[in-house]
Amino acid sequence: MAIVKTERHPELAPPVSQTGVIGWVRENLFSSWLNSVLTVVSIYVIWQAASGIVSWAFINANFIGETKADCTGSGACWVFIKARFGQNMYGFYPEPERWRVNLGYILGAVGLFLVLSDYVKSKKWPGIFLFVIYPVLCYFLFYGGFGLEVIETSQWGGLFLTLVLASVSIFVALPLGVLLALGRRSEMPVIRMLCVGFIELVRAVPLISVLFMASVMLPLFLPEGQNFDKLVRALVGMSLFSAAYMAEVVRGGLQAIPKGQMEAANSLGLGYWKSMGLIILPQALKISIPSIVNTFIGLFKDTTLVLIIGLLDLLSIVKGGTTDKNWLGLATEGYVFVAAVFWVFCFSMSRYSIWLENKLHTGHKR
């Protein structure tokens, strides 16, 4: 009697050494003796670094209390950040009025969500709200007017000021940058030369000197006692500066669009603005998304440079706090906190840009 197996042998699970955690570890960490050595060394190095940081920042850290005297543990003194949290977030904005800033944040978040997310199809009204109504609303909300108490910009500070600086600059820089980029490619010589001149001049000087000019030189040219608001001066400087960078980023996108696109638009009977708005710019801006967001992230971090003109943004207000004689010697905690806040914002921007790239990806992905 021949032994013939009539039914199929049941499929066995792959060997343990090939799957799951063990398989992954074998495959990725210990595939050769060199890799094994590197893995062990790396784990040791990471452990050395991380254990110190974790025990400083969490295990031995002090979270409870009101004053520096409550920081008895050997680790970080987060009490310092907690005690001055309001100041770090809003600067000297009076406490009873801080709801105005929060309301501004909420409205901005709602507007951004409506414009940026996928859930709302029509972008017309959200766009009008965010780019036309919201800025005006914010001006009155933050500064005052219409029955709201006027809060001088010298009272603004902390994260609030950082966000104002960054969002106003971004808000102005993008459209202005697009216009400058179009102007630079224009066939009208005067416009082209003006745009090239502006872009090259602004890009050729460091931001810090632009801020210095705005803050130190400008007042000397004005009659004594006549002054622009310090914040407005910084805002104008930063916006123009980032517009010049934005112009070059957008121009890069425009260069990448084949000439045929413009010709096709023309042959459909579209004029300059229509072909730009409907055909060229949507493609060019899509290509430039990574660079645009890159510029935004750079700009967001550059806002800390206002430190040198005495505006108390997040970094400088935390720095000022470390000189309070009741909190001396806590500079490390302050800087770590600032770094964490900046990381959250910049990382969110970069994640959004990746999401947007994937969403708009229409076939010529490289």
Binding site: Y143, S154, V164, V168, E224, V232, G310, K325
Partner: protein, 337 residues
């Protein structure tokens, strides 16, 4: 938002242009507050407290001026200024007075067009050593390794001092004050040198401040004082006599606690200063009780010093040069009469 505020500023500028700035005192009285330039943060001199209120030795000078002008020390708005833009802020009229631990030098006084109204803190470069070193005078520092911040006049002063005393040293340079302190703690060097007020601030941060000592020698002159614009002498007088009143009050033993009873003092000088007799206030175009208000609401020089810099604070700065002339220092205010 930007467009709107730009518009507002442009409109305001158009309307205000031509309104030439009159006497600073009138301007200040009209707007109802003094705009005072301070640092963006220097321990003991000016920094925002947990409630966001500016506090410190320089801040109290501004408050004293406010008390003299308005009878209320809190009618001050503070403009945090950096070392680089502080003079422009004063020149352009953005601030009315600058109380920002600024060293009084000839070129600043003459060339930049400012008027230093006196010295409210005599600073100078000093040395800090560990007590275990057993040194009690800078003259014993020959052969020492000295930690300091690079690119400052500190470096030049140090070289001059050691050369003049025929001593040798090795300098160890760092970029920031924090790095210098860490190096000093880790025994990279024996001596830490910078301005004495800075040494005290750094010492308060070290975990064992009691084991470190600031040597008595001061090897450079850094007279720090408030300043105003050239050309408005009436305003300068108010600033100068605010400071003098605080120093004179300490000399006469008038404190914020006893100022009310001192009003009826038999000493005629006290009566003149506090406005019980004479017309000193009117001469300044101020209330007769201008000095009373300063001492009552802010305190005399010694009180302010102890409150922000003295032994009860983490800085623990001794009076040293900043003691009254009658007690071994060099504070000497002209008499108020």
């Amino acid at each position: 938002m930007k467009k709107a505020s730009l518009l507002a500023v442009a409109t305001a500028a158009t309307f205000m242009a031509g309104a030439a700035s009159a006497a600073t005192l009138d301007d200040v009285k009209a707007k109802g507050f003094i705009q005072c330039g301070v640092t963006t943060g220097l321990a003991g001199f000016a920094s925002p407290n947990d409630q966001g209120v500016w506090e410190g030795f320089d801040v109290d000078f501004c408050r004293a001026m406010s008390a003299a002008v308005f009878g209320n020390p809190d009618k001050v708005k503070y403009t945090p200024t950096t070392a680089k833009e502080r003079f422009t802020a004063l020149q352009s009229g953005e601030i009315d007075v600058l109380a920002r631990n600024t060293t009084w030098t000839m070129s600043r006084d003459v060339n930049l067009g400012f008027e230093f109204i006196g010295v409210n803190y005599y600073d100078g470069q000093g040395f800090m050593v560990k007590k275990s070193l057993g040194v009690s005078s800078a003259k014993e520092l020959s052969g020492a390794r000295v930690c300091l911040q690079s690119g400052t006049t500190t470096e030049l002063n140090l070289a001059d001092y050691f050369a003049a005393n025929d001593m040798k040293y090795d300098s160890v340079l760092f970029d920031t004050a924090d790095e210098v302190r860490e190096a000093y703690i880790k025994d990279t060097c024996d001596v830490y040198t910078t301005d004495q007020s800075g040494l005290y601030a750094q010492r308060s941060v070290i975990s064992d401040p009691e084991n470190h000592v600031v040597l008595p020698e001061v090897i450079s002159k850094e007279p720090l004082g408030p300043l105003v614009r050239h050309g408005d002498n009436a305003w300068g007088d108010i600033a100068r006599w605010t400071l003098n009143a605080m120093i004179n009050a300490e000399e006469m033993g008038i404190t914020s606690g006893n100022v009310d009873s001192m009003m009826s003092s038999k000493n005629p000088a006290v009566g003149r200063l506090l406005g019980a007799s004479g017309d000193l206030g009117a001469q300044l175009n101020l209330d007769a009780k201008w000095a009373y208000n300063i001492v009552k609401s802010v305190g005399n020089y010694g009180e302010v010093f102890e409150k922000h810099l003295g032994a009860a604070t983490p800085l623990k700065i001794t009076r040293g040069l900043n003691a009254l002339w009658s007690t071994g220092g060099i504070l000497y205010a002209a008499p108020a009469r």
